[in-house]
């Protein structure tokens, strides 16, 4: 079987895979990083989004072999080693942007990339459009949109701390 070498959340792994193995299968089944989820088989739902070389990618749509040599970040790799959450994780909690939690890892990874690619900031409409590739069945998205709007201010250094959600 062919081998693939990739760095995931800072650790380098060399893994034997079948040619047809998807990146998400490698992450979940070989590396046991089960925070990345599979919600569909048509690249529609975004539950499997991870960062590959800094870009958000649906890991169900990439063969593991295509990720050879890549730097990958998954939801497990976002918080600092001391447990401090990424501002986007913090914002999702503060704004009640998750319910069942299944879409959440992909949603958070997509949201971080979306914010990073828009240093000038995103309007509510732009956030909604930017989430086109991620499905959530629980929240109705409203609190996700609010969380991303709040997180971007911290990520871009416009605020030192997350704006608290209104009671």
């Amino acid at each position: 079987m062919p081998q693939v070498t990739l760095t995931v959340n800072g650790a380098t792994h060399t893994v034997e895979v079948e040619g047809r193995t998807l990146l998400v299968e490698l992450l979940r089944e070989k590396l046991r990083l089960t925070g990345t989820h599979v919600g569909c088989d048509t690249s529609q739902c975004g539950a499997c989004v991870v960062h590959v070389n800094g870009d958000s990618v649906k890991s169900c749509t990439l063969l593991a072999l295509q990720a050879d040599g890549a730097q990958i970040t998954t939801i497990e790799g976002l918080a600092r080693p001391d447990g401090t959450l990424h501002p986007m994780q913090e914002a999702f909690r503060e704004y009640h942007a998750l319910q069942c939690g299944f879409c959440t890892p992909g949603m958070v990874m997509s949201a971080i990339d979306l914010v990073q690619k828009h240093p000038g900031g995103l309007s509510e409409k732009e956030i909604r459009e930017g989430l086109e590739g991620n499905l959530c069945r629980c929240t109705g998205y409203h609190n996700i949109v609010k969380a991303i709007a709040a997180a971007q201010d911290v990520m871009h250094g416009r605020r030192a701390e997350l704006a608290p959600a209104a009671e």
């Binding site: 079948e18 047809r20 299968e25 979940r28 046991r32 990083l33 089960t34 925070g35 990345t36 989820h37 599979v38 919600g39 569909c40 088989d41 048509t42 529609q44 739902c45 539950a47 998954t74 939801i75 497990e76 976002l78 918080a79 959450l85 994780q89 999702f92 909690r93 503060e94 009640h96 998750l98 319910q99 069942c100 939690g101 299944f102 879409c103 959440t104 890892p105 958070v108 509510e124 409409k125 956030i127 909604r128 459009e129 989430l131 086109e132 991620n134 499905l135 959530c136 069945r137 629980c138 929240t139 109705g140 998205y141 409203h142 609190n143 996700i144 949109v145 959600a165 009671e167």
Partner: protein, 794 residues
């Protein structure tokens, strides 16, 4: 131990305790669980809606790499079928038709996706490869894909023994009284409508892992379920004949349910049974296409209604005839949805003196249909609230005024409806008035005019609704045909240092129970939230439980916890009285402190808990050591949330696209424990309601092929499709449970669809539209606006 900070108790929007693990990728969903030596199951599914299986050739498949075993229906001898949990009776008193629902097909398949064989192999891919190598010789039979086809003369039978494909022909109400009321009417409004078939699509596909220990004979099933004890009972007692003490069912983190994960599914029995046969763990995980064709669908009603009014617009009588699609087999609660969860709600918030409803449940060669968020109540609400709008227009009355005129007044509660239910509390004028204010109803015409200057058609719609949840009193549902009790169970386990573990028979799959239920303990016992943990979803840990559906967790499960906490406090007061050398009657307890009334003599919560477990100075003759209590709570009635939803839309006449620009929900869900979570539940429910009204629908072709079987073909709401939803609550308290709570899980999905369609019809009123069936797609709307050049296909 610290005295409680009051902002963590009832009414506080505390952040969720469960979030950190979900945000860190540490949730444990069923597919995340791997057992040593695990194998993988792939189920071969029927590509035909209706066919005889003339033969199955497994030779090639068995020779494929990694194959451990292949089983077909012929191997599953001595196994029961999947049971239906609710027996409905026909008008003549005879029981409904209840054909068998085999775990694996027995010679015949009845819908696309029906289970034909299961391959068990070393990897997921090997199992799938081998399944593709199975040769099935099908004799394809004519299928009935719609209720109309199924009821037609000479229609093919889905089940040989079920004549006319009729599961039951049921009714409620008094037909003679009803008919007499119609004879005296000033006007009768006749109205037909469809409640479109939906696919629940929780984001986590269903999954199941079966495990078996041959040395003890113990089975464990990990499954995506909303009610593990119910699965243990149904699968153990009816399908596999396994006693409860040898069968553990774990529903770990579950990624959304919305009803679809209530039911006992074939795959649960298959992996458990196969694990026993092979003495190896067996995992099955649905791919999304399998979810589309095998998760129970929702809604799918076709209804004809007549409403009688007097000259002042007062409702005199309602007569409803509904056809309800059951699909190919009776799913666990399917039969109750169009009867006791639907027709009993047809009085709505109105004083209609007589309601007569007739419901025919029909078998078709489609996926089984069962409860989906709201289950019956959205269908009743959509019918009523559309009908009221149509009646208002045909009477030349204002839409709001006709509702006000027919409301059950707040002082008429408790209110006995003509369709069995007795509502305990509500204030429909209050929720209506607040919603009208928040939505700026009175200034709408100015917004319509402004939109017109931009070339847009703007409309506003309203829905005033009531639903029944918090299910349910066991004796009542038993009399109506339920084969289970619907109480709930809670255990309060107080530890020696005063922290608390709660075991609840409800299950959280997004609702935030680990937070809300802990708030009840904090509020009552004064234990800080961080020192209260909620355990759910494991039959080995929790005494019993009926699970989470019908917005019952707080009203029934929370009430069981209150009952158990009452026992805890009663016992703790005895311990305190002993230590304080006072009589029990004189010992007061308030959030963490026991006090001899009128004195400064106190004992803290921590001291009492420690004494209970270190009983050196203890009333040992009178009470046992320890501090743990269990309570079963059987509700006295359903709970009745209600409220008012207002939707404002803008339609682009060039494209027919509907943009929901404002949505207001003012709901009476009783006492609110965590406002943040309630708001989130309502927003999520409204999103599903808007999805039904504008985007989602299951489409079958005439051969029974599901055409909308992927996220590319079934339009789930995305962030850009939905508006910000303004949510407010106005509480009247439930009068019969100790918390005064009603439930908030389903109100959003129940109240919203008619508000949306009423708004769309209002926006299109210049085109003389009486009704638009859901979903109100751009094609349908464009064809109304451009009636002269209709598109060929919708």
């Amino acid at each position: 131990m610290n005295v409680v900070a009051p902002f963590e108790g009832i009414g506080a929007s505390v952040k969720r305790k469960e979030d950190l693990r979900f945000l860190s990728g540490r949730g444990q969903y069923t597919d995340d669980i791997d057992r040593p030596g695990q194998t993988y199951a792939c189920i071969l599914r029927s590509p035909h809606a209706h066919a005889l299986i003339r033969g199955i050739d497994l030779a090639a498949a068995k020779a494929m790499p990694g194959v451990v075993a292949i089983f077909t229906g012929a191997d599953m001898t001595g196994i029961g079928g999947l049971p239906c949990g609710w027996q409905i009776h026909n008008k003549d008193g005879s029981p409904m038709a209840e054909p068998p629902h085999p775990v694996l097909a027995q010679g015949k398949v009845r819908h696309v996706g029906d289970s034909v064989a299961v391959v068990i192999a070393g990897t997921r891919a090997q199992a799938r490869d081998a399944a593709e190598a199975i040769e099935v010789d099908y004799e394809v039979l004519p299928a009935v894909a719609t209720m109309e086809a199924a009821l037609g003369a000479g229609a093919p039978r889905v089940h040989d023994g079920v004549e006319g494909n009729l599961c039951y022909d049921w009714h409620i109400g008094d037909p003679a009284v009803n008919a007499a009321a119609f004879r005296g009417a000033h006007k009768v409004v006749e109205f037909d409508l469809v409640n479109n078939r939906l696919i629940p699509n929780a984001m986590e596909p269903r999954a199941a892992v079966g495990d078996y220990d041959p040395t003890t004979g113990d089975y464990t099933l990990y499954t995506t379920s909303q009610n593990p004890h119910v699965i243990r009972l149904l699968m153990g007692a009816f399908v596999l004949q396994l006693p409860e003490h040898k069968l553990r069912v774990v529903a770990p983190d579950v990624g959304g349910g919305f009803g679809s994960k209530i039911f006992h599914y074939a795959e649960e029995a298959i992996v458990t049974w196969a694990a026993g046969k092979l003495a190896r763990p067996v995992k099955w995980t649905a791919d999304r296409t399998e979810s589309f064709i095998t998760d129970a669908h929702g809604r799918d009603h076709v209804t004809k209604a007549r409403l009688a009014l007097d000259k002042d617009g007062r409702f005199l009588a309602l007569h409803v005839r509904t056809l309800a699609n059951m699909g190919a087999y009776l799913s666990t609660f399917s039969t109750s949805v169009p009867t006791y969860l639907y027709a009993t709600l047809l009085a709505g918030v109105y004083t209609t003196p007589t309601v007569y409803a007739e419901v025919k449940a029909v078998f078709t060669n489609t996926t089984p249909v069962d409860a989906y968020r709201g289950a019956g109540r959205p269908e009743a609400t959509f019918l009523l609230e559309r009908l009221v709008d149509v009646a208002a227009r045909e009477m030349g009355m204002d839409r709001v005024e006709i509702r006000r005129r027919n409301f059950i007044p707040a002082d008429a509660y408790p209110y006995q409806t003509p369709v069995a239910l007795q509502y305990d509390s509500g204030d429909h004028v209050a929720t209506l008035d607040e919603a009208l204010k928040v939505a700026q109803w009175d200034s709408f015409e100015a917004r319509r005019a402004e939109a017109k200057t931009r070339g847009k058609l703007r409309g506003i719609g309203i829905s005033t609704y009531l639903e029944a949840c918090g299910i349910a009193p066991s004796a009542v549902v038993g009399a109506l045909g339920a084969r289970a009790g619907l109480y709930e169970v809670g255990t309060i386990r107080v530890h020696p240092t005063g922290s608390v573990t709660v075991l609840t028979g409800t299950h959280s799959h997004g609702q935030g129970h680990e937070t809300t239920l802990a708030q009840l303990v904090t509020d009552r016992l004064g234990v800080p939230l961080a020192q209260v943990d909620i355990v759910h979803g494991d039959t080995a840990k929790i005494p019993f439980g009926m699970g989470t559906y019908g917005s019952r967790s707080l009203a029934v499960g929370g009430s069981a916890m209150v009952k158990a906490m009452d026992k805890i406090v009663a016992k703790a007061r005895k311990i305190a009285a002993h230590l304080l050398e006072a009589s029990v009657e004189d010992v007061e307890f308030d959030r963490g402190t026991f006090r001899v009334a009128g004195t400064d003599r106190t004992k803290s919560w921590g001291e009492i808990c420690l004494t209970a477990y270190v009983p050196h100075n203890y009333p040992i003759e009178e009470i046992e050591p320890g501090l743990e209590e269990t309570a079963f709570y059987d509700p006295k009635n359903f709970t009745y949330p209600g409220g008012c939803h207002i939707c404002e839309v803008e339609i682009d006449p060039e494209t027919g696209h509907v943009d929901v620009v404002n949505f207001t929900a003012v709901d009476d869900v009783g006492r609110v424990i965590n406002p943040m979570i309630v708001e989130g539940q309502v927003q999520g429910g409204v999103a599903q309601g808007i999805g039904q009204a504008l985007l989602e629908t299951a489409v079958y072709d005439e051969n029974g092929q599901l055409l909308s079987a992927s996220f590319m073909d079934y339009q789930m709401p995305r962030a850009g499709d939905l508006p910000p939803v303004s949510v407010a609550t106005h509480a009247t308290l439930c009068t019969h449970n100790p918390l005064g709570v009603k439930g908030c899980g389903e109100v959003g999905a129940i109240g919203s669809p008619p508000a949306v369609i009423n708004a769309v019809v209002d926006a299109l009123k210049e085109f003389g539209v009486r009704h638009i069936e859901m979903p109100a797609t751009p094609a349908k709307i464009w064809n109304i606006i451009h009636a002269d050049h209709k598109l060929a296909a919708e």
